[in-house]
Symmetry: C2
Subunit: 285 residues, 2 copies
C-alpha cells in the first residue's frame, strides 16, 4: 500500500468558500483570513478569483486582496482562479504567480459555469496559456465535475480525458480533478487517478472533494493511495458550487490535516491554527 510521507494541503476556503457567501466580506477581513492561514503553515492558498464581478460580487476585490498580501513569505503560493481570458488578463496585472483555469467535464455544468461549450472553453485555454506564459505565471488546470454531474449523472472517462488533453495542450503541468458535485466514491477516485496517471505521465495531479454523505475523506485516502500528493480543502468545511443547489462544502482542512498527521504524513500545517481560522471565519460570517 502506498502511503507518502508528505502531502501538500491547498486551502481553497478564501476562494471556493467565500464565493458562496452572499454578504460581501470586507477586503481587510479576507486579507486577515489568508494571513492566518499562512501563519498556520499553509503554503498553498487559492486566494481569489478573477471572474465577472456581476456574477460573483464577493470576488470583485480580488486585485486589492492580492495587493495587500504582497509581503507574505516566499514559500507561500497564492493562486487566483481565472474564469476566462479577461480574468487571466486581470490576474496577469495583479502580480499573482499562479493561476488556475477551470473547465468542466460535463457539458451542462460547463455551460452553467462558464457559459460556453466545453470545446470552446478548451480553445480559450490555449489563449489563457499563452498569456500566462508571456506573463511568467504558473498556470494549472482544474477539471470540474470530473467524478459526476448533477445534471448529466455519470461522466464517462473520455470526457475527463478530453479536458485533460486540452489542458496539456494549453501548457498546464498540474491538474486538479474536482468532485464539484460531491458524487465521487473512493473506488472511482482510485481507478480514475490510476488510469490518468498511467495515460498522462508527468502530470502532477491534485484532488478537490466536497464532503457529500461523509465520503470526502474516504475519497482523499484512495486518491493518496493512487499517488496524489496535493489535496484541496477548506477551513471549517466551507464551500460549494453556486451552480449546484445544495452542494456540500469542501472537506474541512482541520479534519484532513488531522487524518494525514494520524497516518504519519507531514503537511506543515498546524491544526490549532486552522481551527483558529475557522473561528475567525465564523466571526466574519
Amino acid at each position: 500500500m502506498h502511503w507518502p510521507g508528505k502531502i501538500t494541503v491547498r486551502e481553497v476556503g478564501p476562494r471556493d468558500g467565500l464565493q458562496n457567501i452572499r454578504e460581501f466580506v470586507p477586503t481587510e477581513k479576507k486579507v486577515q483570513m489568508i494571513r492566518a492561514l499562512a501563519a498556520a503553515g499553509v503554503v498553498a492558498i487559492e486566494a481569489v478569483s478573477f471572474v465577472s464581478p456581476r456574477a460573483v460580487p464577493q470576488m470583485s476585490d480580488a486585485y486589492e486582496v492580492l495587493a495587500a498580501l504582497g509581503d507574505l513569505p516566499g514559500n507561500v503560493t497564492l493562486s487566483a482562479l481565472a474564469g476566462n481570458l479577461k480574468g487571466m488578463e486581470r490576474a496577469a496585472g495583479s502580480g499573482v504567480r499562479e493561476v488556475v483555469a477551470v473547465v468542466s467535464a460535463s457539458e451542462t455544468h460547463n455551460r452553467a459555469n462558464l457559459n460556453l461549450p466545453v470545446e470552446r472553453s478548451l480553445e480559450v485555454l490555449k489563449d489563457i496559456g499563452a498569456m500566462a506564459a508571456s506573463a511568467g505565471i504558473r498556470l494549472r488546470g482544474a477539471v470540474a465535475t470530473a467524478f459526476g454531474c448533477p445534471y448529466q449523472g455519470e461522466i464517462p472517462e473520455y470526457q475527463v480525458k478530453k479536458v485533460v488533453e486540452g489542458m496539456l495542450a494549453a501548457g498546464m503541468g498540474e491538474i486538479t480533478l474536482a468532485d464539484t458535485a460531491g458524487m465521487a466514491d473512493p473506488r472511482q477516485v482510485y481507478e480514475l487517478v490510476r488510469k490518468l496517471s498511467a495515460g498522462y505521465p508527468g502530470v502532477a495531479w491534485a484532488l478537490h472533494f466536497h464532503d457529500a454523505r461523509g465520503l470526502g475523506l474516504a475519497n482523499a485516502v484512495t486518491g493518496i493511495q493512487a499517488g496524489v500528493t496535493v489535496l484541496e480543502s477548506s477551513a471549517g468545511g466551507l464551500g460549494g458550487c453556486p451552480f449546484i443547489p445544495g452542494a456540500a462544502g469542501n472537506i474541512a482542512t482541520e479534519d484532513l490535516v488531522y487524518m494525514l498527521h494520524r497516518m504519519g504524513m507531514e503537511t506543515g500545517v498546524d491544526i490549532d491554527g486552522i481551527l483558529g481560522c475557522g473561528r475567525m471565519l465564523e466571526g466574519i460570517l
Copy 2:
C-alpha cells in the same frame, strides 16, 4: 487493489445506538424498528444487550424484544451483547442464536466498561464460551478500543493481540475490531487488519467505527481493502459509548450503504428503507 463484490452490513443501532438514549424506548417501538431494519434488507442486526439493567436501563427489556421477533425470516441474524456470564445466561434463555462478548484492549476502558481487569475478563470469556457452546449459540467477540483509548491513548498491538487470543481460546471464530473512541485512522486500520489477518488466519474479522472528525467511512474503505467484509453501522449515525464522554456516533448505515453501492459492492440493503428507519427513530426519540 482489493474490492470485494459483497459486504455484510451489521446494523448496531438498536443496541449501540439506543443504549445511549436516557429515556426508555417502549419495547414495541424497539421491535418496530428492528422489523423495519429487517424489511430494509439488513440480515445482521445487533438487537439488544444483556447487561445490568441498573447500568443500562434501556436494555432491561432485551428478553421481551427478542421474544417479539421470533417470527423474523431465517436469513436475518439477530445478535445480543452479553456483558458477563450472567448476561450470557440470560441470552441463552432468550432463544437468541448469536451472542457477542466485548473485552477492551485498554485496561482503563475495560475497567470502566466491565469493572474487571482485562486478564480477568479473558478468563470469564472461557466460561461464556463454554455456556454458548452448550446452548448451541454462535459466539463472536468484539475488541473495544482496538484503535486507541481516550484514557490510555495509543493502544499497542500486543494488547489487541492479547484480547484476540483470549477470544480464540474461548472458541470465537469472528472478531470485531471496534474503534470505540473514534481514534482510528485509515492507515492504522489497514495495517492492523493485515497484521491480525496474517497472524490469526481463519478468523473472520468485522469492523466497527465511530465517525469522529469525518474519518468513519475512510476507515471503512481501508478496512475493506485489507480484506474485511463485515462492517457495523447504525441507521441515522446513532451511537456512542456511555463511558467515553462526547463519543461520536457510529458511521451511518445509509452513508455506508450508499458508498458501498457506488463502489459496486452488494449489500442487499435498501437505502430508502434505512432512511425510513432513521425517520422512525427520530419520531421515537
